[in-house]
């Protein structure tokens, strides 16, 4: 976007949408109309509340569906996100990106056109960086194998992108499981941990790949369950987050072993980081 990778591009909040309790979707339109954002599913960017700070967020929409806007799902959880949640459409923010690697979309297709089965497990706001993958698959449905989606949250009001679930589940060769840890009076769907649903459905590991993102505690137990179901570490892909200050491999904050989440990740195969995953 410019020569100095620390310099954010100014962008205007074109749309702010409530996704769930304490979670909003921000669509950012670059002030300089020449600025273009080209990226792949899984990449992330930094969003600045100018004067408060900046934080990394996964790009939450596929480029094809972005309309040229940078889109981030933001959970109100700290000082930067507090400030972002107070903002109104038309306010100025800073955007840096795209950064990091991306999901191996070609590998998801299966090397031999055999229609590899894709299992996607998203917990809470962890569904946001997976949404571009889902959109990419749905937009090129013939090129990918069967898709099995597991969407979970602690409670119904924390489920993000609910209004898109109908589109997702109606797609050909797509199955969807939605569950919440704890229901409420109006919830008629499934109640239970994502790992319990995963164990019930028990997808076969044969010619399959699993992709997961969610809170650390969820990832920990999803990894265990996938292992129990017979998924090899090489068949499990995850996208990680950590404290990051630059996104450029310079600030020394986001390493998992000798891998930098910001540059070598955020997308990893489990076998790449298993040895160095410290405390979840």
């Amino acid at each position: 976007m410019n020569d100095n990778p620390f310099l954010p591009a100014l962008a205007r909040l074109a749309e702010i949408r409530d996704l769930a309790t304490g979670i909003k979707l921000f669509r950012c339109e670059f002030v300089d109309k020449e600025t273009e954002l080209h990226y792949r599913p899984g990449q992330f960017g930094f969003l600045s509340a100018i004067g408060v700070g900046e934080a990394p967020f996964g790009l939450a929409v596929s480029e094809a569906r972005s309309g040229g806007l940078a889109e981030f799902a933001v959970q109100r959880i700290g000082t930067v996100t507090d400030a972002l949640h107070e903002m109104q459409p038309g306010d100025l923010v800073g955007v840096r990106g795209p950064m990091g690697n991306c999901f191996p979309m070609d590998q998801l297709k299966g090397d031999d056109g055999s229609g590899r089965r894709i299992i996607i497990l998203g917990g809470g706001i962890g569904l946001a960086p997976l949404r571009p993958v889902i959109q990419e698959i749905l937009d090129h449905r013939d090129e990918y194998g069967p898709l099995e989606l597991f969407c979970a949250a602690r409670s119904p009001e924390l489920l993000v992108f609910r209004e898109e679930f109908a589109e997702w589940s109606a797609a050909p060769r797509t199955t969807m499981h939605v569950t919440v840890d704890k229901g409420n009076e109006s919830w008629t769907g499934q109640v239970g941990l994502i790992t319990q649903v995963l164990a019930q459905v028990a997808p076969s590991p044969e010619n399959a790949v699993a992709i997961t993102c969610g809170p650390p505690i969820m990832i920990k137990f999803v990894l265990k369950e996938l292992d129990r179901l017979g998924f090899a570490p090489e068949q499990v892909i995850m996208t990680l987050e950590s404290k990051m200050k630059c996104g450029l491999g310079k600030c020394g904050r986001c390493n998992v072993g000798d891998q930098y989440i910001c540059q070598d990740g955020p997308v990893f195969r489990y076998d790449q980081v298993r040895e160095f995953l410290e405390a979840f």
């Binding site: 620390f6 900046e54 959970q75 450029l248 310079k250 020394g252 390493n255 072993g257 000798d258 405390a279």
Partner: protein
């Protein structure tokens, strides 16, 4: 063999001549310590300085610096990134201070280069002097171990000019073109020094003293040894002594981890600052919401040493350490990085406590 020599007086005069055009950083006496500082006249230079208490890092990578500035003007919000471009000379650097720059260059100048570091690095010429030999400040110093990480007391590779004390004078080794150009105004004279070859005067002059160095050189264990100790109880034992004070990281010439913060000034200007951070602080790795992937001092101690001797070598080809020994002498509880290296080399286990 002819060797370019400069007298102390001429060296001082030359340095003085640089002051109008350059920011000159040199060792000076401050209270009971020697420190690197910007000088206003050569009268301030501590010619007999030992190892400076502070590394030269802050002159390339300040403890706090503005990286982005936003101002509201008639045309709306304007954004700028201030880059330092004033030429500077780092004078009196030790070979390990020069090596520290090479270690940092590998990360910070790699694509995409850190523009703030690069601007200062490009604008700086490094004039160092060799440790040992006849240098009054001496060296090697308590706790230092540059040979373990591939350096040496007369290592010229990462300096633009290497000076070696010889009697009342200094032998000059102009290592780089940048160094040669800076020296163009210096009044040097060739002198016949039978014992030395021009390019390596320092090796000959310093070498004699260092050959008598008492302790055997500490050997660096290979990456596999560090990897093997990832889960060792050793880290917990080390952490029981560590106060988490961060001194080791701030005093380190190559610890580079940083934090980024915004602040609003009274006139409405907003600045984004980056500041040194430390892996030894409790909150260093904690993310919003409270999750902390390194929630114990043991995990943070392990991160410090693994970063220096496993992760950085694997990524950048060199240790994130130049063996200067500052952390050894400054640690309030006497954690000694050499003992950590020795313990890993010996295959640390729960039973083998690091000697205090």
């Amino acid at each position: 063999m002819n060797q370019e020599i400069i007298s102390r007086q001429e060296l001082s005069r030359w340095l003085e001549s640089l002051l109008p055009g350059y920011t000159v950083i040199a060792p000076v006496h401050r209270e009971d310590r020697d420190v690197f500082a910007v000088i206003g006249s050569t009268g301030e230079v501590a010619w007999d300085a030992g190892r400076t208490a502070n590394p030269a890092k802050e002159f390339f990578f300040p403890a706090s610096e503005t990286i982005v500035r936003w101002r509201t003007g008639p045309a709306g919000l304007q954004v700028e990134a201030p880059l330092a471009t004033r030429p500077q000379v780092l004078f009196g650097a030790r070979p390990c201070d020069g090596m520290a720059l090479d270690v940092l260059d590998r990360l910070l100048l790699a694509d995409p280069a850190d523009p703030y570091y690069k601007a200062r690095r490009d604008a700086t010429t490094v004039v160092g002097w060799a440790c040992g030999g006849e240098h009054p400040g001496g060296g090697p110093f308590e706790g230092c171990f540059c040979e373990t990480v591939g350096g040496g007391p007369a290592d010229r590779r990462f300096l633009d000019v290497l000076l070696t004390r010889h009697g009342d004078d200094y032998a000059i080794d102009a290592v780089t073109e940048k160094g040669r150009q800076l020296l163009s105004g210096a009044k040097t004279e060739p002198r016949d020094l039978p014992a030395v070859t021009p390019a390596h005067a320092a090796d000959d002059i310093v070498g004699a003293v260092l050959r008598d160095r008492p302790q055997p050189v500490l050997q660096m264990p290979p990456p596999t040894e560090w990897r093997a100790q990832f889960d060792a109880a050793f880290w917990t034992e080390l952490a029981q002594r560590c106060l988490g004070c961060r001194t080791c990281t701030y005093d380190c010439p190559v610890c580079y981890c940083f934090d980024v913060r915004d602040r609003a000034l009274p006139d409405g200007t907003i600045e984004r600052l980056r500041c040194w951070d430390s892996c030894q602080g409790m909150q260093c790795f904690a993310i919003a919401g409270g999750h902390n992937p390194r929630p114990t001092q043991a995990a943070r101690q392990r991160q410090r040493y693994m970063h220096k001797f496993l992760y950085y070598p694997e990524r950048e080809g060199v240790a994130l350490c130049v063996g200067c020994g500052r952390c050894v002498v400054d640690c309030p509880v006497n954690i000694d990085i050499r003992e950590v290296i020795a313990a890993i080399a010996a295959g640390a286990t729960a039973a083998e406590r690091v000697p205090a």
